[in-house]
C-alpha cells in the first residue's frame, strides 16, 4: 500500500445542528462560573488567596478545637477542663471571617461584569436579567453557605464520634442537621444578598467591599448606641440595626440556645428574613436596570 502526500482539508464553517440546552442548563453555566470565581478556580494565586484564607479562618478554628478535644479526650481530667463551643456559640466567631468573605469576594461576581461591559452580552443571551443575578446569587450562596455550614458539621461529627454510643447519640441529636442547615442559611443568605447589592452599585471591588463593611459596622454601631442609650422595647427596636447581632440571635433561636436580648428569637429571624427580601428585590431591580443600560 502506498501513501500519498498529506493533505489538509478545511471543512469551512460548520453550524450547530444539535439540540440546544434548556434555560436551567444555561442558568447552571452561570452558577458554575460564579462558584469558580468565588473560589478563585482557574484564576491566579492572588484570586484564590482571599477566598481560601477567609474560608479557612471560618473553618480552621473549629478543626483546631476539635483536634485539641480529641487529643485531650483520653485523659478524663484534662478533657473535663476543656469545653468545645456550642453550635450557636461558634457563629459568634465565624461571622467575622464570613462577613469579610462576603464583602471581599462577592463583588467579584458582579463588579468585573459591569466594569468590563460584559453585562451587555448577558442581556443579548437567551436568559433574563433575573436568571443572571439569581444564578450569581445562588453561586455565592453555595460557597458562603458551605463555609458557614462545614464548621458545624465538623463539630457535629466529632460529638457523634466522641459519644459513648454514636448510634444512640445520632438518633437523639438528628435535629442538629436541619438546624445547622437553617443556621448556615440564616448566616449566608443575608450576607450574600447584601454584598451583591452593594457590588451592583460599584464598578470596583474595593469600593463594594468597603460599602458592605460600612453597612454592617455602622448598623452595629447604631445598635450598640441604641442599647446603651435606651431601655426596653425602644432599645430592642434600635438593636435590630445590628445585622451580626440579629444573625447570631436568629442562629441561637434556631438551635434553641437563646440567651441574648430580651426580644424573642423568632422576631430576630422574622426581621432578618424581611430585610433580606427587601435587599433581594432591590438587587433584582438594580440588575435589571444595569442589563438594560
Amino acid at each position: 500500500m502506498t501513501t500519498g502526500p498529506a493533505e489538509i482539508f478545511d471543512l469551512g464553517y460548520q453550524g450547530w445542528e444539535g439540540q440546544r440546552t434548556s434555560r436551567w442548563r444555561r442558568r447552571r453555566a452561570i452558577w458554575r462560573d460564579g462558584v469558580r470565581i468565588s473560589l478563585g478556580l482557574g484564576r491566579g494565586a492572588g484570586a484564590k488567596f482571599a477566598s481560601w484564607l477567609l474560608i479557612g479562618l471560618a473553618l480552621v478554628p473549629m478543626v483546631v478545637l476539635v483536634a485539641i478535644s480529641a487529643f485531650l479526650s483520653p485523659t478524663q481530667e484534662a478533657a473535663d477542663g476543656f469545653e468545645l463551643p456550642s453550635y450557636a456559640d461558634y457563629y459568634d466567631w465565624a461571622l467575622v471571617p464570613l462577613t469579610l468573605f462576603a464583602a471581599v469576594v462577592a463583588p467579584l461576581l458582579l463588579c468585573p461584569d459591569r466594569r468590563d461591559g460584559v453585562l451587555a452580552l448577558y442581556g443579548a443571551r437567551p436568559i433574563t436579567a433575573t436568571d443572571y443575578v439569581a444564578s450569581r446569587w445562588a453561586a455565592f450562596l453555595t460557597v458562603a453557605g458551605l463555609a458557614a455550614w462545614l464548621p458545624v458539621v465538623v463539630l457535629f461529627a466529632w460529638n457523634a464520634l466522641d459519644a459513648a454510643s454514636p448510634g444512640s447519640w445520632l438518633s437523639d441529636n438528628w435535629d442538629v442537621v436541619p438546624r445547622s442547615l437553617a443556621s448556615a442559611a440564616a448566616v449566608a443568605i443575608p450576607l450574600t444578598t447584601l454584598a451583591l447589592l452593594t457590588a451592583s452599585f460599584a464598578k470596583r471591588r474595593a469600593y463594594a467591599a468597603v460599602a458592605t463593611l460600612a453597612v454592617v459596622l455602622v448598623g452595629s454601631a447604631v445598635a450598640g448606641i441604641g442599647e446603651d442609650s435606651f431601655d426596653g422595647s425602644v432599645a430592642d427596636v434600635i438593636s435590630l440595626a445590628g445585622l451580626p447581632d440579629v444573625t447570631v440571635d436568629t442562629v441561637r433561636w434556631i438551635f434553641s440556645d437563646e440567651r441574648g436580648p430580651s426580644r424573642a428569637g423568632w422576631l430576630s429571624g422574622l426581621w432578618l428574613a424581611g430585610v433580606t427580601v427587601v435587599l433581594a428585590i432591590w438587587l433584582l431591580q438594580r440588575t435589571r436596570q444595569l442589563v438594560r443600560e
Binding site: 440546544r20 440546552t21 442548563r25 462560573d33 468585573p112 468590563d116 461591559g117 452580552l121 438594560r292
Partner: protein
C-alpha cells in the same frame, strides 16, 4: 423572508424621541443600519433584542416578539460598540462560556469556541488573556462571541470602531465572509457610509429617529442620468465648446457635470472635447453616493 420587522416603532427617553414611528423590514444578507449619532440605531437594536420596550408599535425578530420570551436570542448574536470583554480570561474560555450560556452543550461549546476563533484568525492566540490583545484582536473576539452559538442573525454595533484603515478593511472582509460563507445574516449599525458601501447588501437609513430610506445598497448608489467629465486641463474651454453646441455643463475645478444627458449627447461631448483640445482624464455616468441619500428625496423605498 423578513428576519426583522419594525412596525410603527416609537421610543422616547424623557423629552427625546429616539424613534418616531419607524417601519421597515430586514431580510437575509448583510444589512447596514446607517445613521449619525442619535439617529436611533442603538435604540433599534435594544428593541430588537428585547432589552427595552417600545412606547408604541412592535418589533419582530425571527418571527418572535422580543418582549415575550428571551428564547429567540439563542439564534441571535450581538456585538456591542463599547468594550464588553473580560480582561483576565482567555478568549477560548470566554467564548466557550458564552456559547454555553447561549444554549450549547458544554463539550460542543468548547469545540465551537476554538473553531470560531480559527475563523476570525485568533486560533494561535486563543489561550492568551483577552486583556493582552490589541484593539483589532478584541474586535475579532467581539465578533466571535456573537457567532459562537451559531446564530441565524447577528447584530454588530459599530464593528470597525477604533480600527486603523487596514484593520477596518480586514474586519469588513471578515463580515462579508461571515455573511457569504457562514450563512449568518448580519445587521451592522454604523455611522460610516463607507462601511455600508463596502460590506452591506442593503441599508436602512435612520435620521433623528425617523426612517429616511431603505433598500438595496446597489439601488441607492445606482448610476444617474448625469455625466461626469474629469479633465487634466482645458475644462473652461470644454465648457464653452459644450455651450456652443447647446449643452450646459457645471464647472467644478477640473470637473464638468452635465445633467439629464441622452445617448446623442455623448457624441456631442466627444466632438466638443476634440474641438476644444481639452485633455480628458475620465468620462463616466455619475453615481449617487450614499451620502446623497441624506440630501435627496426618493420615489421608491422612501421612509414610511
Amino acid at each position: 423572508m423578513a428576519l426583522l420587522r419594525a412596525l410603527s416603532l416609537t421610543k422616547t427617553y424623557g423629552s427625546v424621541r429616539a424613534l418616531d414611528g419607524v417601519s421597515f423590514e430586514i431580510g437575509e444578507g448583510i444589512t447596514g443600519l446607517l445613521g449619525s449619532n442619535g439617529a436611533g440605531k442603538t435604540t433599534s437594536l435594544k428593541l430588537f433584542l428585547g432589552l427595552i420596550r417600545p412606547d408604541s408599535g412592535s418589533a419582530e425578530v425571527l418571527g418572535h416578539d422580543p418582549r415575550v420570551s428571551p428564547e429567540f436570542r439563542a439564534r441571535v448574536g450581538y456585538a456591542p460598540e463599547h468594550d464588553c470583554l473580560p480582561k483576565g480570561v482567555s478568549a477560548a474560555e470566554f467564548l466557550a462560556y458564552m456559547a454555553e450560556v447561549s444554549g450549547l452543550p458544554r463539550s460542543a461549546a468548547r469545540l465551537r469556541a476554538s473553531d470560531i476563533l480559527r475563523h476570525v484568525g485568533l486560533f494561535e492566540e486563543r489561550y492568551r488573556p483577552i486583556g493582552t490583545y490589541s484593539t483589532g484582536m478584541k474586535q475579532r473576539v467581539k465578533l466571535a462571541q456573537a457567532l459562537v452559538h451559531d446564530p441565524l442573525l447577528a447584530f454588530l454595533d459599530e464593528p470597525t470602531a477604533g480600527l486603523d484603515p487596514i484593520g477596518r478593511r480586514e474586519m469588513l472582509e471578515l463580515i462579508r465572509r461571515v455573511g457569504r460563507d457562514f450563512g449568518i445574516s448580519i445587521v451592522i449599525s454604523t455611522h460610516l457610509m463607507g462601511d455600508v458601501e463596502r460590506a452591506c447588501d442593503s441599508v436602512v437609513v435612520l435620521n433623528a429617529g425617523r426612517l429616511l430610506r431603505t433598500g438595496a445598497v446597489s439601488g441607492l448608489t445606482e448610476e444617474t442620468e448625469a455625466l461626469e467629465i474629469e479633465l487634466v486641463e482645458g475644462a473652461p474651454a470644454l465648457q464653452e465648446a459644450l455651450a456652443a453646441k447647446g449643452l450646459t455643463a457645471r464647472l467644478d475645478g477640473n470637473r464638468l457635470t452635465l445633467e439629464q444627458v441622452t445617448g446623442e449627447d455623448y457624441d456631442t461631448v466627444r466632438d466638443a472635447i476634440v474641438s476644444s483640445e481639452a485633455l480628458l482624464y475620465r468620462l463616466a455616468p455619475a453615481r449617487l453616493a450614499l451620502a446623497d441619500v441624506f440630501s435627496t428625496p426618493s420615489e421608491e423605498g422612501e421612509a414610511t
